[in-house]
Symmetry: C2
Subunit: 150 residues, 2 copies
DNA sequence: TTTCACGATACTTATCATGTTACATGATTC
DNA sequence: GAATCATGTAACATGATAAGTATCGTGAAA
């Protein structure tokens, strides 16, 4: 099953925007993500609705950060793009009539719930600002040219 | 994205088989799972290849347990059905040229790795026998009629 | 030899993120 | 105000994959 990369893509965009002056167009962003401007607008609409970014039409328009990156976590972004299910496996029926199936589901869902709690906690504990700073640190440590092209 | 229910289904079948005398046909199993016999054979082929079940053709044929349930974990079954990816989210590119994207991927993959380790540990810690016993306990506690129809 | 049940192949369906085309809307520039 | 730029939105195509279906072959039991 192909993976949902919306969170990953939006984080990528947000970090670029955090180190970029002025708005970025969908077309520019699409090139960064190697995709289509419409996909960018569609996905970023969630971030806009959540107030994390702002979009402006017309000349000089585009997308810009609209929130304090210290206060937005990776989990917030995950939710802003629709908070898709984190797992690719699960039970077939929600409320099985069969007692055996119910027992199996409970065992599996217990395990999944725990893993989800861990993942949610991890994503919720990291702010975009921290992620951006850790990126800066990587650049210094690894001797990368900082701004980066894409 | 619709979830992969192979693990859940196979556990359901295995628990029934553990409390059932003689082989069960694909058709019988398919009714339990509310699906098609071909789907059953296709999915159970993995369990057979791994040696967890055995299949016999002809009159009186069907599927039967072929392993010590104490020694088979839920993780083993997950792997026997193909060990599909556990997560529905992930990064777009494996080895991004962009340093920002690489940093994002690393952060996300760290979190996913941790959650996966937890989930794998949980699934690996439970044997089919334990799962079956916990089902028995549920029946007693809840006053269910034990054998169950589907 | 008939019936039963699995084995295997091929094809269809369902789902959903992603990709694409087309056009409307609003803002800026001239 | 006309042209241009950029987003907003709708509609549809694509790709991947689990699941569903139809069909026929194979081997075992009655």
């Amino acid at each position: 099953m192909r993976k949902d990369s919306r969170l990953s893509r939006m984080l990528h965009v947000l970090l670029h925007m955090a180190r970029h002056d002025g708005p970025m167009t969908s077309e520019h962003i699409a090139k960064m993500l190697q995709t289509n401007p419409v996909v960018v607008r569609r996905t970023m609409a969630g971030l806009r609705d959540a107030g994390y970014v702002r979009s402006e039409k017309g000349h000089g328009g585009g997308w810009a950060i609209a929130a304090d990156l210290e206060k937005v976590s990776l989990l917030d972004i995950h939710r802003a793009v629709g908070g898709p299910s984190l797992f690719a496996i699960g039970a077939e029926h929600e409320n099985p009539a069969c007692a055996v199936e119910a027992a199996v589901n409970e065992a599996l869902e217990d395990a999944l719930r725990e893993a989800e709690a861990l993942l949610v906690a991890r994503l919720g504990a990291v702010s975009l600002a921290e992620l951006a700073r850790s990126f800066d640190a990587r650049c210094v440590a690894g001797g990368w040219p900082h701004p980066g092209g894409s």
